[in-house]
Symmetry: C2
Subunit: 361 residues, 2 copies
């Protein structure tokens, strides 16, 4: 369907950032923290990852209003042993927490070659690519991991135990390349199931099981006590478990079923855990040589002969870069439902809702 | 089918190690290197990973005889910057190269908290779990990556460009747990397709495509210029590319189509790259606390309600541990074809072939 048939309208990214920032400030988030968080969310929209974009603003605001997210957290380093850092997030906005975490990670990796940073007591932090790209743009090969609420069944199970626990790796490159992999270790992220439900559509076989453990194509099979399936069976379940060990247990934070849900647990903080690793490429191989070889590899991959019906082979990050080029020029499309939700939020907080920049068709 | 119907016989693991070691020494591998390599291969058989076990011995011997693997390599550290190490493998047996690499990785991580080791100009090194478990048993959370010859198509492609590039992570635990994930980033490892072909069986839809890019269930569709598909589509392709960047490019070794095939490129060394990362858990959280939380998480995962028809939920490493318990007591089963190949090898090298320990049925 076309954007207009879906009721989508396009908004200037800078206006969305201003709006999100104003909304967060309206619930007592300091200006610089609000700006950072708004920029992180809209960055996801710019890169085409709408499930992690400004659609999260209403729940962020709600949790701040309820005191479940701390608007003025004491985010701090609680352990610094040259190559390893542990950060206490004090239930602050994940973006505020991760801003300090990535600053520490980058500075330590530059000085010591490597840094592993564990983060405890954080909350939803947007896309992992947003954080890993900070490192890669500084010449550091950067990993980002986070855990989240249990919505994925282990392989063979029919209960929610794991989260979509993403693996993200960003690799230093020169423009126009930007090699970043940011993938859920589940078959699908929860946002896609919600989208199908809101549009009255069925979902593909293999995404979810119902509460009895049977495969279903009905989104409600998931929402009524079902689970998302891990990516590729036992492999994705194993990866998801490892990500939770890295982000949750190694950081000294919550893991698996103890991590709170942003949407459903409205009586307690989330206690999300993150982990970051940065490697100073230059210590192993000259950065220019490294980038040149990565560029040649990406070019080689895109030039591989294609399967019937395939128009283009994409390297990780290509689709997001193309989306960003489009959306910086033409604005970010938001769905009718989201525009309504943001309008309600604007009204409730008494902040001005931005106007679409496209002509209604 | 039962083992006997498949013509399988069981062999004492110690006898297999003695045999493999003698075979390697017969082609001029020093005794300690031969012993290490033999032990690594049979360790895979013990853990039930027969595709990476003693089945590789004939090609190891052949490549040593041809001078494509260096029997007396000058394996050495060429860069040591406290947290990062680069190892030159000098085309030695991968096990000999990785023995030094893991020793350096463990020692550096103990001293500095973290260590990333890149390895260039190596060869096939067995299972990655074998190396990562060395680290985890020393209290270090350990990652192992390797690249290999191009046999996997990128997502949407119909040419071999990537390898099965595994991701392996081993997590410190106390017995009987042993949490280790060692997974190819492709739908399947090449050995399973070879096995199907040798038994005249078809393979499941979704494993491979033929040279035209069409899905096929005929193993020959793969062997005749086809490709293995990446795990779960674009995600596995992205992971595979990242592993090659980490193991190949960051180490300064070969990557993608430039890595030689152990079986097919009989005119040049492989130039395989590896990478290892070890994290000293104790720097972030007390090791005993960490192990106790991991144990509780594994217990929780195994106790999840099961889907219809599922007998048991396994954590990564459980199946391999169970196999090892069985095979240490009852011997390692080898197929009829492999017993014949090893018999021919024994005869050619004039080393005694071990006898099976089970009674033929």
């Amino acid at each position: 369907m076309s954007e207009s048939a879906l009721g989508q309208r396009r908004f200037a990214p800078d206006r969305l950032i201003e709006f999100a920032s104003a909304a967060l400030m309206a619930v007592k988030v300091p200006e610089s923290d609000a700006q950072l968080t708004a920029e992180s969310l809209v960055s996801a929209n710019l890169r085409g990852v709408d499930t992690h974009g400004i659609t999260r603003l209403p729940i962020y605001v709600h949790r701040l209003q309820q005191g479940l997210v701390n608007a003025s957290p004491n985010v701090r380093v609680i352990s610094d042993k040259t190559t390893t850092v542990v950060i206490e997030g004090d239930a602050g906005l994940g973006q505020v927490v991760c801003d300090l975490a990535m600053t520490e990670t980058i500075n330590h990796a530059r000085e010591h070659g490597l840094c592993w940073t564990g983060v405890r007591n954080s909350t939803h932090n947007g896309t992992q690519a947003y954080w890993a790209l900070r490192g890669s743009r500084a010449g550091l090969l950067t990993f980002a991991f986070t855990n989240g609420e249990a919505i994925v069944a282990p392989w063979g199970g029919r209960e929610r135990f794991l989260s979509t626990n993403p693996v993200c790796v960003a690799v230093p490159t020169d423009p126009p390349d930007e090699l970043v992999l940011d993938m859920a270790t589940s078959q699908v992220a929860g946002g896609h199931i919600l989208l199908a439900k809101s549009q009255g559509e069925s979902i593909p076989e293999g995404w979810v099981i119902d509460k009895e453990g049977n495969s279903t194509t009905d989104p409600d099979g998931y929402f009524d006590g079902g689970s998302i399936l891990p990516l590729g069976g036992y492999k994705g379940a194993g990866l998801s478990l490892i990500v939770d060990v890295l982000a949750g247990i190694l950081s000294g934070g919550a893991s698996t079923v103890d991590v709170g849900s942003m949407y459903w647990d409205l009586d307690r903080p989330q206690d999300v855990g993150h982990a970051f690793l940065a490697i100073d490429v230059e210590r192993l191989i000259p950065l220019a040589t490294f980038k040149s070889r990565v560029a040649a590899t990406l070019a080689g991959m895109r030039a591989v002969d294609r399967r019937p019906g395939v128009d283009c082979i994409y390297a990780p990050g290509d689709i997001e870069r193309d989306a960003e080029n489009d959306r910086r020029s033409n604005g970010c499309p938001l769905t009718r439902d989201l525009i309504r939700d943001l309008g309600n939020l604007a009204e409730g907080l008494n902040v001005p809702m931005p106007k679409p920049i496209d002509t209604e068709r």
